[in-house]
């Protein structure tokens, strides 16, 4: 049935002229109060508190004109008068928006925006709430099937918000995922015909089956995401430049990087504006020599008759050349921004990346003095020490790689109750005989032969050239071969780090019933030396390790050391495990000491 059919059918009814004449006569007669069932109509104006008091709103009031039998009240909200909950006499509009899955109030809802370089939480006051309400109400929502919407990717990019029991996530590809938790609302428990009944604990029972979650999937028309973003960011960031004397719109500016070139899109322009306008700039006065080692990010933009060429280098040095059309005069300035991540954020913004990818600085901490390389030689896995000049070379090499972080190691496995848990995708981190591991401190970095480097919880993409460089370096260098005992000593040193405040150790009493005691060790030098004093030998039979009788275990980032009561050690480096044994008698002697520290 169309709206017009219904309306047309009713519009065919009309009051007769005779009836109208009689009514008009009665309505022009003097008012006589009649005693009938309508006497209790209320004519005064009431002030009533709003039904929902949202956390961010100050005290507000509804102004109502009450009428009708039984005090039934009607309030038509005029949004033009809504200028924020400032005083008691002002109207408060909740902007209840009719989504296809529910009607939800938008006023004061916090929208979390994660788009390229932008990370912002925007509360929807007044104008924003109104504009969002208008947009969502009039948008064309298309419901999607499970096949149309794959939510296995653990992507956080996009816009999300939480209202009542709904969590809504809007992706940049215009797909929308809504999860609804079915809860008992304290102030307005409702019951609709859609549900069979409500159980005592407040769970809604649908068709006889208990559900804790429902979820819905939709798509919005192309351009919707951009529109929503522009509404949310209107007062915070726009698409224009306003830094170091540069002005004009970023949209359609020409850009060139080591990876790509093209014209800046509207969505990219928001991030450029966000990064460059908010950066802390200092003017450099010494010299105008450009760094020729690395290709800069170049932007060419126009503002009326001024043309700007902006060259941004990795170290933050930026050259700005302004040419005025009329006079052909050229001004050149040298600036520097201090944010060390800004260059990579700019590069990421201007590079075509997958949703889970972002260009980042080298993620490895090189504050140690050495590293261990674990690789297979002639089919046998061995450990090698990298120190001195070799370690410095390694650090310099890795720091200069182009690292693209891929947040795709974990996928969402959806459970029957609508929640999801992250599950590691083992295919993405699978190793083969060509893989090797570099351990620096407690960080384990696995270099695979597919140009991916895995360092939990992320994996990183590097260029073909970068991968070749590290591969050749590893294969062609003669590093110091480590014995089993040296390797274990090195691991103990790095997992039990003196003064490491965030390292936790679990110590087990000989009395199995007591269970493990978790403690924070501030000074463990004595215990570390005791363990290193033992002679450790590699064990090729992991089945000797008694997982049910643990003497102690220690964890630090990607390293773990677990010892059973017989002195057998399981050394964990990333996802790999290595087993070593020592003299049970010798171990028993120091085990007491391990248990007695405080």
């Amino acid at each position: 049935m169309q709206r017009n059919d219904y309306k047309d059918a009713l519009n065919e009814l009309q009051l007769s002229s005779k009836f109208c004449e009689e009514m008009e006569k009665k309505l022009t007669e003097s008012n006589n109060v009649r005693s009938d069932e309508y006497e209790d109509i209320v004519t005064h104006v009431d002030v009533i508190k709003p039904k929902r008091f949202r956390g961010l709103a100050t005290a507000a009031a509804f102004v109502l004109a009450a009428g009708g039998i039984g005090g039934g009240a009607y309030y038509k909200i005029n949004a033009k008068y809504n200028s924020g909950p400032q005083s008691e006499q002002q109207e408060y509009d909740e902007y209840n928006c009719n989504f296809p899955f529910a009607t939800l109030p938008l006023h004061d809802v916090v929208f979390n925006v994660c788009d390229r370089a932008i990370r912002s939480s925007v509360p929807a006051y007044d104008k924003i709430a109104k504009n969002l309400d208008d947009f969502f109400e009039h948008a064309e929502w298309t419901e999607l099937s499970d096949e149309d919407y794959n939510v296995d990717r653990n992507t956080y990019a996009g816009i999300d918000f939480l209202v009542n029991e709904y969590i809504v996530h809007i992706q940049s590809n215009e797909k929308v995922y809504v999860s609804k938790r079915l809860i008992n609302l304290n102030d307005s428990v409702y019951y609709t015909d859609d549900y069979d009944y409500i159980t005592a604990d407040g769970l809604y029972v649908i068709n006889g089956q208990s559900e804790n979650y429902e979820y819905f999937k939709y798509s919005l028309p192309e351009g919707s995401y951009k529109k929503i973003l522009s509404i949310l960011l209107e007062d915070r960031v726009d698409t224009n430049a306003d830094f170091c004397g540069v002005s004009g719109s970023f949209i359609n500016a020409d850009y060139h990087t080591s990876k790509e070139e093209g014209k800046v899109t509207e969505l990219q322009a928001y991030s450029l504006s966000y990064l460059l306008n908010n950066a802390i700039w200092t003017t450099e006065t010494e010299g105008f020599e450009e760094d020729t080692e690395k290709e800069p990010i170049t932007l060419n933009m126009v503002d009326n008759k001024d043309h700007y060429e902006i060259k941004i280098y990795r170290n933050g040095i930026t050259y700005i050349t302004k040419t005025t059309e009329e006079s052909n005069a050229e001004e050149v300035s040298k600036q520097r921004f201090k944010d060390k991540d800004a260059y990579n954020d700019l590069l990421s913004t201007l590079t075509t990346l997958d949703e889970s990818q972002w260009i980042v600085p080298c993620p490895i901490d090189f504050k140690k003095e050495n590293a261990v390389l674990i690789k297979k030689t002639d089919g046998v896995e061995k450990a090698y020490l990298i120190d001195g000049y070799s370690y410095d070379s390694l650090a310099l090499m890795l720091e200069n790689f182009e690292w693209t972080r891929c947040d795709d190691v974990y996928n969402n496995a959806f459970l029957s109750d609508g929640t999801y848990m992250p599950v590691i995708d083992k295919d993405k981190i699978a190793q083969n005989d060509n893989s090797f591991t570099i351990v620096i401190g407690a960080q384990a970095i696995v270099i695979n032969d597919n140009n991916m480097i895995y360092s939990s919880p992320y994996r990183y993409g590097v260029t073909d050239i970068d991968h070749s460089i590290i591969d050749v370096w590893v294969q062609n260098n003669n590093f110091q071969d480590m014995s089993d005992d040296e390797f274990v000593d090195w691991a103990i040193d790095n997992v039990m780090q003196k003064g490491e405040m965030n390292t936790y150790y679990s110590i087990y009493s000989l009395d199995q019933e007591a269970g493990p005691q978790e403690v924070l060790i501030k000074d463990i030098e004595e215990n570390r030396e005791k363990l290193k004093a033992l002679e450790w030998t590699k064990l090729n039979n992991p089945e000797f390790f008694d997982d049910k009788n643990i003497a102690c275990q220690m964890y630090n980032t990607h390293l773990s050391v677990r010892m059973d009561k017989n002195g057998i050690m399981k050394l964990g480096i990333g996802d790999n495990s290595y087993y070593f044994s020592t003299s049970p008698e010798q171990f028993a002697k120091i085990a007491d000491g391990l248990l007695n520290y405080k």
């Binding site: 219904y6 009713l10 065919e12 009309q14 009514m23 309508y38 009719n98 009607t103 409702y190 015909d193």
Partner: protein
């Protein structure tokens, strides 16, 4: 808006609107006629001021809903709007009979659905606004709207089916 002339002004402007709403809510021509009288006479008797026409109309609809609730009938299905009723009415006439079949289905709709269907389809109110007028939770309004639509569609399909059968039988 002058209080003395409000009722007259309201009748001239919204008389037919109230008629159509009353019919949609109570499903009877005769009762619709009574309700129209009651609504405007009550405004005349107890004048009140309104911010604007929209405010006035909303109030009128609210009162119409309440008066329909007061009707001492438990089920609307016991009341059918027959062609006899309309033909005998002096207050109401049909401009056209094209929508008669749909009107008969509208009349059969239970009041709780009829209210929201009318406010949505005829008046074009949003669910939020309907919620304010009917004092129902918005989710309930949405649910009633959905159910009302399904019910109307089902009734209309049944009518179509019986018409098809009649046609087939007569062929």
């Amino acid at each position: 808006m002058n209080n003395d002339s409000t009722a007259l002004y309201a009748f001239r402007k919204y008389g037919n609107t109230v008629l159509r709403a009353a019919f949609a809510f109570c499903g009877s021509y005769a009762e619709s006629e009574d309700i129209v009288q009651d609504v405007f006479l009550s405004l005349h008797t107890s004048p009140k001021s309104f911010n604007d026409d929209e405010h006035l109309k909303a109030w009128l609809l609210r009162v119409t809903i309440n008066k329909c609730k007061n009707l001492k009938r438990s089920f609307r299905f016991s009341r059918t709007c027959s062609i006899d009723e309309i033909e005998q009415s002096e207050a109401i006439y049909e401009i056209s009979t094209e929508g008669r079949e749909l009107r008969s289905q509208i009349a059969k709709l239970p009041r709780k659905y009829a209210e929201v269907i009318f406010l949505y389809y005829y008046e074009g109110y949003s669910i939020k606004e309907i919620s304010e007028i009917t004092e129902k939770n918005e989710n309930t309004v949405g649910s009633l709207l959905r159910r009302g639509r399904e019910k109307l569609r089902a009734e209309l399909e049944k009518e179509d089916e019986s018409c098809r059968e009649t046609i087939i039988k007569t062929l």
